[in-house]
Assembly symmetry: C2
Homo-oligomer: 211 residues x 2
DNA sequence: GCCGGGCGTAGACACTGTCTACGCCCGGCA
DNA sequence: TGCCGGGCGTAGACAGTGTCTACGCCCGGC
């Protein structure tokens, strides 16, 4: 795309497929090359190291999640409803693509060298998503009455806390411990009890939904 | 200990040392064996697979964290103060021992076969810690006035949400994105801004501290 | 006093990520 | 038209990994 290379995209595609199918453990460099139909040395022409390829795969995840964020918020007009939809899309994406989510937040992929074609680092790719979260919280704050808004922490703090909450919810739900705490069925079960948890989380940080 | 084996403990000790020193990437099976002064095949007599050794290391982490939890809550008497101390110890442990924390919550170590000596699985080892969290929240609820308590979600939901919040706070702080949201110094800096976030999180889920 | 099993050793095997030498093929230039 | 050069994929080597198997030692019980 950027300079005409097509194998580069195919490698990332194959990597995404592997992560979605077999989780983060099955995305070896040679396995990606096999999946893309090239020899094991070929990826090196486009990605100097295995981690930089993983980083590119994770970037795809952030772009995908950001796009879902945008369409989710577009479906509502009240800021509070937009935030609820965005939160659900965040948690839904993470639980439907656990491998991708795990890869995206692997701390050792954060600051690899910038991609060979000058593309951004993983952290920079994730910034628009984070800014969208903060903006949503700020807009929710703006429509609260002045009394409750004055008693609350700064919007940036609330945004950070709320986002942390959704993020941790995903991790612990995947781990299966929240099901134990809530007395739900075993961690293997598909019961989407977490939806109720998501609304409880939003209410905790922004107050009950305004009448 | 259980049946007299001493190398077993030494292997786990060496593994903990490696994780604390070099993170979760440096805790290879052969490296642990080298550190313990035995050949690379020796661990197999005590742990059938590499993952089961990692699981034993993670169990140590949970035991350690649980112990810190206990001493932290023992330092206060009001439930709310106990919970604040426990939350700070949770976050503090995670940020001071990032490698251990990462290992403890690796989902692929959750349900390995029970240890050769019949020890518990990782998930069972973590249960007492989780129960302690829920108990603290329940006790905080008990001393709230009836009106606010009635308007709040069930204690189990609040406990799950609060714990998720602390957990996600750790992950995102380690990732360095909360610093960006809060406009703090770069992720490499040591500024313990997160302490203020922890109290904001507790207040969000349990209401402002009672007078 | 001898045997047997627990436990550590040593080597092999398949596999991984990285590095290097090679060859093909296609575009620019004389 | 013919040649050259560089991008790009191939093939093999290398160190390292986790696992498996054969071996040897040493200590306790019949």
């Amino acid at each position: 795309m950027t300079d005409g290379g097509s194998l580069r995209e195919r490698l990332v595609d194959a990597g995404v497929d592997l992560v979605l199918a077999g989780g983060t453990a099955s995305v070896g460099l040679r396995e990606i090359a096999r999946r893309a139909g090239v020899s094991h040395g070929a990826p090196r022409r486009h990605f100097p190291t295995h981690d930089s390829l993983l980083s590119a795969i994770a970037r795809r995840g952030f772009e995908d999640l950001h796009a879902r964020f945008a369409t989710a918020t577009a479906g509502a007009d009240a800021p509070r409803a937009q935030l609820a939809a965005a939160a659900r899309s965040y948690v839904g994406y993470a639980l439907d693509h656990r491998g991708m989510f795990e890869l995206m937040f692997r701390h050792d992929l954060l600051d690899g060298a910038p991609q060979a074609d000058g593309g951004p680092r993983l952290r920079e790719t994730s910034l628009p998503l984070f800014r969208a979260i903060v903006d949503l919280v700020v807009r929710c704050r703006a429509e609260q009455d002045a009394a409750t808004a004055a008693a609350a922490p700064p919007a940036a703090v609330t945004a950070a806390a709320l986002w942390s909450n959704l993020h941790g919810l995903v991790q612990l739900w995947t781990w299966g411990s929240l099901q134990v705490v809530l007395g739900a069925d075993g961690p293997g079960a598909e019961s989407p009890h977490y939806e109720q948890l998501v609304t409880a989380v939003i209410d905790a940080h922004l107050g009950p939904v305004p009448a």
